[in-house]
């Protein structure tokens, strides 16, 4: 009996709604997300924590897309090898994307999951939105 319950329990937290944090195009086509705090999250999350998450993500994307000596060197080297170097080398952008993915996992574990929220990595949504899934909250303050 306990086994049956535990399997069904895995599916218990149902998705209540999803919040989408859109892109901020004020600085051009660089990947940057709006820091406006969605009203649906007011009951679950501090504005400051949300701000910090989005700002860190924006900074990480800025680092990935930064035009500087290192990216130019990578670009020139790639051009000289007729871009075949992309077949065997991981680009700087891909390295930062892995960093972002680790950061999001970390944030989910520490901050978002305990509040019944889930951050989705923007790369899974084509860098269009930061999707925050709000799960139904049955344990907190229910049935007391």
């Amino acid at each position: 009996m306990a086994e049956t319950h535990s399997l069904q329990d895995l599916r218990q937290p149902a998705v209540s709604s999803k919040v989408f944090v859109q892109r901020d195009y004020g600085s051009g086509t660089i990947s940057k997300f709006q820091t406006k705090f969605p009203s649906e999250l007011e009951s679950r999350l501090d504005k400051q924590q949300f701000d910090e998450t989005i700002q860190t993500l924006n900074n990480l994307y800025a680092e990935a897309e930064k035009l500087g000596g290192k990216s130019y060197l990578e670009g020139c080297l790639a051009c000289l090898t007729a871009y075949t170097i992309f077949l065997c080398m991981e680009t700087h952008y891909e390295k930062v994307l892995k960093k972002i993915s680790r950061y999001i996992k970390d944030q989910n574990e520490k901050i978002y999951a305990p509040r019944g929220l889930l951050l989705t990595d923007p790369i899974e949504r084509g860098l269009r939105v930061v999707e925050i899934t709000i799960y139904e909250d049955r344990s907190i303050g229910s049935g007391r």
């Binding site: 937290p13 007729a82 949504r125 049955r138 007391r144």
Partner: protein, 381 residues
Amino acid sequence: MKNCEYQQIDPRALPTPTPIPPPHLGPESDKREEPKGPRRKWQVFPGKNRFYCDGRIIVARQSGVLPLTLGLILITSGLFFIFDCPFLVKHLTSCIPVIGGGLFVFVVITLLQTSLTDPGILPRATPDEAADIEKQIDNTGNTSYRPPPRTKEVLINQQVVKLKYCFTCKMFRPPRTSHCSLCDNCVERFDHHCPWVGNCVGKRNYRFFYTFIVSLSFLTAFIFGCVTTHLALRAQGGKGLVFALQESPVELVICFFSVWSILGLSGFHTYLVASNLTTNEDIKGSWSGKSGEDVTNPYSHKNIFINCCSVLCGPMSPSLIDRRGFLPGDESVQTAGVDIELPTLATRNVVGGSSQLPFGLQESPSPVPAPPHSHQNSSSA
């Protein structure tokens, strides 16, 4: 109380009736009973593209005249190496086939990369996103007779830019993105759809395209020069120019006509790169101030060198469509989320000292054994 909780656990509301391990859940929810293995995202890609090598290679559905382009390059270079090189090596220098060979390899590689790379396709919005955007559009106030406005204005570097809503992809297109009707995709930094290359030219493959046309113009100019030198040397040899012309007409004709057009195209694209414009924007006159307003290109770095570097040597963004990724089942997403939540929710209940157990389990007589019970839940997950 606990009875209510049991009623909420409705098997019909569950994504799947049986616990299947997530990685093997291939198809989307409407084909749950399909016994086949996991499917990759390219197999359900909605755009008009074709995929080869299990999603590694992407081409537009209409390959255009790509075979013709390849054929012309191969034939011309082949004739050059067979007929002109031996003569020129003997009379001039052996560097000629080396330079020619290097240019030829460069041209073919960049051509293939332009044709077979994802140009910067934006994946279509998920149904939830599309619903959210629709809701936002409706909220901004519109009459019931006219369709709601489907443009959004943003301020980019003090320049007003209109973002259009794409009805096919169900999202507001980012700046400089355009929907290609031939490929049925929204492409970032859309330049144009090139039939010679058989693919769109966009953010991710513009540098390959530019390198291709520049190296092709060098190659055609080089071959043209070599053929002319060959003819000149032969004509000097005594047999006359007309006789020499009869020996290599094909290359001369092809090179003569292509040199001017390709050089012209390279020049045009060099101008576009230097001013950080796309062909699309140039043709539409988006930033040329035709309408009389004071418009400037908001994406330009106002410096030719920086513009060139950012377009050609900037960071290479990854493909957003994740062709070789596996299709996610609803199962895997929820289970992943729940796995993270379970330990923490159980912990909170223990800390709070509540008699209400996380999932309304009737078996446990008191809250004290909750930690080992929840531990059982996590381990069975």
